[in-house]
Symmetry: C2
Amino acid sequence: MSPRIVALSTHDIRFPTSRELDGSDAMNPDPDYSAAYVVLRTADGVEGHGFAFTIGRGNDVQTAAIRALEQYVVGRDVDDIGALYKDMVYDSQLRWLGPEKGVMHMAISAVVNALWDLKARIEGKPLWLLLGELPPERIVDLVDFRYLSDALTPAEALEILRRAEPGRRERIAHLREHGYPAYTTSPGWLGYDDDKLRRLCQEALGQGFKQIKLKVGASLDDDVRRFRVAREVCGDGFPIAIDANQRWDVDSAVTWINALKEFHPHWVEEPTSPDDVLGHAAIARGIAPIPVATGEHVQNRIVFKQLLQAGAISYLQLDSARVGGVNENIAILLLAAKFGVPVCPHAGGVGLCELVQHLSMFDYVAVSGSMENRVIEYVDHLHEHFTDPVVIENGCYTAPNAPGFSARMRPESISAHSFPGGAVWRES
Amino acid sequence: MSPRIVALSTHDIRFPTSRELDGSDAMNPDPDYSAAYVVLRTADGVEGHGFAFTIGRGNDVQTAAIRALEQYVVGRDVDDIGALYKDMVYDSQLRWLGPEKGVMHMAISAVVNALWDLKARIEGKPLWLLLGELPPERIVDLVDFRYLSDALTPAEALEILRRAEPGRRERIAHLREHGYPAYTTSPGWLGYDDDKLRRLCQEALGQGFKQIKLKVGASLDDDVRRFRVAREVCGDGFPIAIDANQRWDVDSAVTWINALKEFHPHWVEEPTSPDDVLGHAAIARGIAPIPVATGEHVQNRIVFKQLLQAGAISYLQLDSARVGGVNENIAILLLAAKFGVPVCPHAGGVGLCELVQHLSMFDYVAVSGSMENRVIEYVDHLHEHFTDPVVIENGCYTAPNAPGFSARMRPESISAHSFPGGAVWRES
């Protein structure tokens, strides 16, 4: 089979989730979960799929940014992923639009992830296993260490990967038998009333989830009341995280979070701007021992590096589709391992659960080698649109068996949700 | 006159500067200076112009991002700039594409700057004067203090502005008589040979510039040789800054810069990633007393805040068209004043000199109240395409008299450089 890529096509796909207030939080009252979707095709007709996740308006701009990358990909060989990734990141003209952040970087993420989906399909393996079986040297070659060497050198990365090598086979078997622990955010959206919150907390416990998460930050009185409801249902000692979605300045974060101390938050997520490394560090000091978590909006490995250097986060929440795709996420997993900080990825949206499970499972097999204190976020939205949706059993992600990155949306879902011409939008 | 905006239109404008190696540096070997250009029009036919500066590829994506903002602007009143700015920044769906960084934020910058160009034209004043005559309370109202309050509160901003109020009239007169000091980067592009460097240094001295700047970072041997040439021509004591355009990691920056110590760099600009606050701080410690400068790629006020909090920079180089336009730049000028760090703006590219002179002059009149240790970058490219080009006299920017933000490109320049259909591109 020829691994030569002959075509790149895009779709602007949007789901009208704002109609039900699914996904409502303190900063995002009415998201329409969307995907700027890319399909790569080889000369043999094999396809690789990827996407940038957005929440509605601007998905057309994001899709245009992906199309701007066509010239880097078409005509190239899928086995060149490492070089292709750097060619896109270091195109000197495109780089001005970031560098390595925002719309242009998310576009690179979508294309890189599609390349890995394609590669894993050609190899006939799920991505987590394909990556988890690579020799340490090959994994190091996939990483761009630029701007990281004050925190992580290639030699240190190699040492981390070699240390994890002996137990790979047992951990692969463990994943296949038990899966990877999940937590659920489904009970905690701000748009839900207390009865729905109580019912969904009970369901989450019944389904075996290891943790739940509540959105906070719109009203302190509401947060106290809702946290009390959740604590009553879940009991003392059950991990309940809270998520402010960037709502606060530094001082107000400290005050607000300390007012919720009696409920023992498992972590506080995104207390302030994702750009504010020093702010996160100040908040972490001001609310200790409550841990700080962040990552879904962190733009690249350079900001993650600093969050770790500053001791600002106790949990690192990587996102599968914001930084530069699989390659940059391998760098981030290695950084987290170096600093001994557990990675608990961001998921939800549309398709993020499908992607991110592969990264956590790869981390377990070949990088950190540990599941301790680690959970993958789970939100039960929109999985029915994927050809290989995540499978949750007893509160765990089961290890995917199908070849690829689980990134492929069903053709009829793509067609119905295309914006603005798809059936879902024409009827609205 | 009605200040109601009835139309937003865009142009993808590119100049083939890569053909001459103008603007070549260690990270940008072949830029085609470009503008994603926006025109706002009122019911009465008055126009406001603005643009995001890019260096070629991706200017189409940038232009698409500006078009995505049409719905926020058309139908609104130009006097609503403050509210309009926040509506764009805090649109919850568009915000996901940043937040406040990259393509989407640069688009907001272009629109905000066009609004100010329009406002100043309606008022019949150059922007620097319009802003410099506003009451302190009105200026504070233009600023978004979110994520800044741990470093700068509205009350502190008001105090800074009030402190500068008594001398405004004298400083306006001083600007009109003497202008604002400039430095030139024209001699220092990497693509030029030593003879051209020597000749351009001599010209810069002859023209009365207060400082020059050399690009560095591609080869240490070349940098030593070129710095020696420049030092020979300019003499001891003349300020010569160097600019690495993000070339180094932290440790290599320290080593490389210290190897140039004997030539007494006036500052070292962009030694590493613009996202690396802690890295800049580590470099500043490692090369003291050589000062660090950065800013042209700093994405927003939140990163500038941290650079100041960390003591990472001795000069703040704001850019007129990357952060969220005039409003966010007022926040940045206030932050710099709070921390006592001089602002020496980035310029060059296409139209950046035209815009940024207004911000420095406003800073002098109403914020810092000082010109001490401050210069505005000047590059002698592409000014002929503007209807109100900068005027340099005796190495100083003369104070603009024409109403507006000097942002307007000549219609024939827009037409000839439109990409890909304009005459300049059709002939290539």
